[in-house]
């Protein structure tokens, strides 16, 4: 197992290096650089001195080499041109972005499973009912509607249809202004929860649909297996058949899906961050992408790649844990 882990770590590092090369090349292939956006409004002399200061006047290979050597020698992922701050600070620690990203991830994951599981069970056990049709319709909607549209529609309904403003309730962001700098209190917690639920709903919506459809398909397949028929013919109650025999076996493949869950959730969170104005890692990444703040973009891409690798690793471990036939050596 140790050998497997070491091999796996080696492959991951090699892949990360490859990702960094591709990401850097893509950034450099795009026309212009960070300072291009200022070319129509800043004097040429200032632009030249900024280009020199940021190292953008150097050939791309030297820029890349300096960036990589900073990471290897000092775990320095570079400097944000925009903020004049270290990249890791801009992406993760400034405004507790990583903290709020994890909070949202956790809340959305719990919500997704809590909603998807009953939906899948209900539609698998009542495949011909109207409830099942509604559930399937909901799943289809969740998969079809882009996240940004869900977020905008939700805000529109809150503001223009429900007119929550008349109740003193705000939309977007994590808090209303008076609570941002205030010490923690019950009011502040309630305000956070009010602002959090639309974000959690937006992030969860598509994932609930995917999860519910996948689990429903697995359950339907398991429920049609001969051993389920045998259990039923023995007179075992439907509840026990479902929970002890069918669900446990249907859940095994779903566990492998967990590996892709992490990157998928980070992707959904990006849209929520942009529309719902959430101060999270994805928001900082998006802003840097728009401004061509190249080292923040690069560090963000490396971070998301790491998340993907970690997700896949978790998936492999879960598979081995749930299926005795799989062993890594």
């Amino acid at each position: 197992m140790l050998g497997y882990l070491l091999r796996r770590a080696g492959v991951t590092l090699a892949l990360l290096a490859l990702v960094s090369v591709i990401a850097f090349a893509v950034i450099k292939l795009m026309p212009g650089d960070y300072l291009t956006q200022y070319q129509m409004s800043l004097p040429a002399e200032l632009l030249d001195s900024l280009r020199e200061q940021y190292g953008l006047d150097q050939p791309p290979l030297i820029q890349y080499g300096r960036w990589v050597s900073g990471i290897v020698t000092a775990l320095d992922f570079g400097y944000s041109f925009e903020n004049q701050r270290p990249v890791l600070e801009v992406l993760f620690t400034s405004g507790d972005r990583l903290f709020w990203s994890l909070i949202l991830l956790l809340a959305a994951t719990i919500t997704s499973f809590c909603v998807a599981l009953p939906l899948a069970i209900y539609s698998a056990t009542h495949p011909k009912g109207i409830g099942s049709m509604l559930t399937n319709g909901f799943s289809l909607l969740g998969i079809s509607i882009p996240n940004f549209l869900t977020a905008l529609l939700l805000l529109y309904v809150l503001v223009s249809v429900l007119q929550v403003g008349q109740l003193g309730l705000g939309v977007a962001g994590l808090f209303d202004p008076q609570y941002v700098d205030a010490p923690w209190s019950w009011e502040k917690l309630l305000n956070l929860l009010w602002h959090l639920w639309p974000a959690v709903l937006v992030i969860s919506f598509a994932n609930i649909a995917v999860l519910a459809r996948y689990l429903r398909a697995q359950l339907l397949e398991v429920l049609s297996q001969p051993y389920i028929q045998v259990a039923r013919s023995k007179g075992i109650s439907e509840r026990v058949v479902l929970w002890r025999h069918a669900l446990r076996n249907a859940l095994n493949p779903v566990l492998s899906l967990m590996g892709f869950w992490l990157p998928s959730m980070f992707e959904s969170t990006l849209v929520a961050a942009v529309i719902l104005q959430l101060p999270i890692v994805e928001g900082a990444f998006w802003q840097a992408l728009g401004r061509g703040d190249q080292y923040v973009v690069l560090a963000g891409l490396i971070f998301f790649s790491v998340v993907l690798f970690v997700g896949n690793f978790i998936s492999d471990i879960l598979l081995a844990w749930s299926d005795p036939k799989i062993r890594y050596e």
């Binding site: 956006q37 070319q39 004097p43 200032l46 405004g95 962001g173 700098d181 209190s185």
Partner: protein, 590 residues
């Protein structure tokens, strides 16, 4: 902070969050207090007549969404709107934009006009309570702005390649002198915040990194109506009143009226509108498409103010007179063709469809409003007239000889018989620019010119315009945005200007028309012209010459729109570029 330490601390926080909250005090949220004013000996008095709604009352908070996080609190190196929205409220210069005094109590121009002596307001203090001295002014100019190490816009301060001399006479008097008269001095000073030497003298060598977004607010001081109270990245900036502000209203009440300005970060346009309609913000600069939904709520106090169109921006079609295609190069260099292209621009349609009717047509270069003469009756105008455009094209010899609906080049061109066609570049994210390009393409098609409108990324467009002295474009729809003293016009209209993107070959002296030399001469003269009326005349002549010879096809200037809550705030008269409050010191909460 070390990342692993940070992660560990956050995981712990995550785990105990609910428990900690359960124990949290149920204390009320932030309380908004009013600063205790310390009067300046000779404050600047703002009369009730200059306030749209008259005298206001002290107290209250104004909330206005900021379009992005600030990138810095350094007013000299800031370039982004998110920072500008804050820095304009916490800083002030010796002079005001309208040429009146601000931090300076008075100024005296020497008879030979080569020096100006400024006297500071007596008793004036920075927002941290430290007295302002002439040394602070010298420090700001000489040690910071003129320093080679600082990323400042120092070009505007250069006169014949030299910075002016700054001399401290005594604590409250400073003299700025140059070898020749410096007409742009007063407007430069209006855009230059006075910095506190006592807080920044240790950071001169690394000034570009000074006053970053992580600098504690207590270490930042200025002379504007507000001070930074707190900044929570990704969420909001809170500004509190500057207790030492140097303006009062005519009844002696110290300004600003507001206790606080809160600027939540909201980057999405649609979300900013929804938050305004939801009552979360007091002020919102709307887009044309937002007007109806705001006016629908006028009974609830929602109000729309339409400001006059600006004059500084230039919205143009640029024809590359150095185009690689020899036919197009010759054609674009023909003044009659450019005049025909101006006649073909249906500015009214562009304004009505792209700007919801909120704009004014323009026929000459963008320039600050005090020098703008584009409305004069005798100003050269090639206004929309398709028959005149057709006549000019016929005169040039461009005719549709094969009857396919497209004109061909005559025999006097390098490639006679070729169809007249070109690519029109514009910015893919801008519906307004794309709308203009579409209307223009259709008009030109009806004139027998084939145009392919191609929206590209902004960076691509700028790169193709500027990053090569042989620009890689044929025609482009772009906006040139500059503001401040007209000295910047040299960047665009001088033969060697860095933004002379329609004919860089002027710099090499290739086929330079006489009018271009005249423009060059006028621009050089006006930079050293000390007599304001003579300078006005030179700039007037410059505008007329440019409008006459149409190096660029000028289109329109948009009218800025503002929306506010009339039921909540008074004396709101708009924003600058939809970013910064215009009159933060006397806006009040009703």
């Amino acid at each position: 902070m070390n990342l692993s330490k940070y992660l560990t601390s956050r995981v712990v926080v995550l785990g105990v969050l609910l428990g900690a909250l359960a124990l949290a005090l149920t204390a009320p949220a932030t309380t908004f207090g009013q600063g205790s004013g310390a009067a300046v000996d000779n404050p600047l008095v703002v009369s009730a007549a200059s306030m749209p709604d008259g005298l206001g009352k002290s107290g209250g908070t104004l909330i206005m969404d900021n379009i992005s996080d600030p990138q810095t609190f350094n007013p000299i190196t800031a370039r982004d709107d998110g920072s500008d929205a804050i820095l304009k409220l916490i800083n002030a210069g010796l002079m005001a934009r309208d040429g009146s005094v601000a931090v300076a109590e008075s100024f005296n121009i020497a008879p030979d006009e080569t020096s100006v002596t400024f006297t500071l307001r007596k008793g004036i203090k920075f927002s941290d309570g430290t007295p302002v001295t002439a040394e602070d002014v010298r420090f700001t100019l000489q040690d910071v702005i003129f320093s080679a190490n600082v990323n400042s816009s120092k070009q505007a301060w250069l006169l014949n390649g030299q910075f002016p001399n700054v001399q401290v006479i005594n604590d409250s008097t400073i003299k700025i002198s140059s070898s020749v008269p410096f007409p742009g001095l007063l407007s430069n000073l209006a855009d230059t915040p006075i910095l506190p030497k006592h807080l920044l003298s240790g950071s001169v060598q690394s000034f570009n990194q000074a006053w970053s977004i992580v600098t504690p607010p207590s270490q930042i001081a200025g002379l504007g109506p507000f001070v930074i109270k707190s900044y929570t990245p990704g969420q909001q900036v809170v500004l509190a009143r500057n207790p030492y502000y140097w303006k009062t209203d005519s009844s002696g009440v110290q300004l600003p009226y507001l206790d606080q300005v809160i600027l939540p970060v909201t980057t999405n346009d649609d979300v900013r509108l929804l938050r305004f309609l939801n009552g979360q913000t007091d002020v919102y600069p709307p887009r044309p498409q937002d007007l109806q939904s705001i006016r629908d709520k006028s009974a609830d106090g929602f109000n729309v103010v339409v400001q006059p169109a600006g004059t500084a921006d230039s919205n143009v079609f640029s024809f590359n007179e150095d185009a690689a295609d020899p036919n197009l190069q010759k054609l674009f260099r023909d003044e009659r063709f450019r005049q025909a292209m101006s006649y073909a621009a249906d500015r009214a349609s562009m304004i009505s469809t792209g700007l919801d009717g909120l704009g004014e047509p323009r026929y000459g270069p963008g320039i600050s409003s005090e020098y703008f003469i584009g409305d004069d009756a005798d100003f050269p105008q090639y206004a929309f007239d398709m028959s005149k455009a057709r006549q000019l094209l016929d005169q040039i010899g461009l005719t549709d000889s094969n009857g396919d609906g497209v004109r061909e080049f005559p025999s006097s061109y390098p490639q006679p018989g070729a169809a007249v066609q070109f690519e029109l570049l514009t910015v893919q994210d801008s519906s307004v620019l794309i709308n203009d390009a579409t209307i223009y393409s259709q008009a030109l098609k009806s004139l027998g010119i084939n145009v392919t409108a191609t929206p590209v990324a902004f960076n691509t467009l700028v790169t193709r315009l500027l990053n090569s002295k042989t620009p890689q474009y044929q025609v482009a729809r772009i906006t040139i945005s500059f503001s401040g003293d007209p000295d910047y016009l040299g960047d665009i209209y001088a033969a060697k200007g860095t933004l002379h993107f329609w004919k860089y070959s002027d710099a090499q002296g290739q086929a330079v028309p006489d009018w271009q030399n005249q423009v060059q001469q006028l621009l050089t003269q006006q930079t050293v012209e000390s007599d304001p009326s003579k300078r006005f005349d030179e700039l007037k002549q410059f505008q007329q010459v440019v409008a006459q010879h149409v190096p660029l096809v000028y289109l329109y200037n948009a009218q800025a729109m503002q929306a506010d809550r009339k039921d909540r705030i008074g004396n709101f008269s708009g924003t600058e570029r939809s970013v910064t409050l215009l009159n933060p010191d006397y806006i009040f909460h009703k």
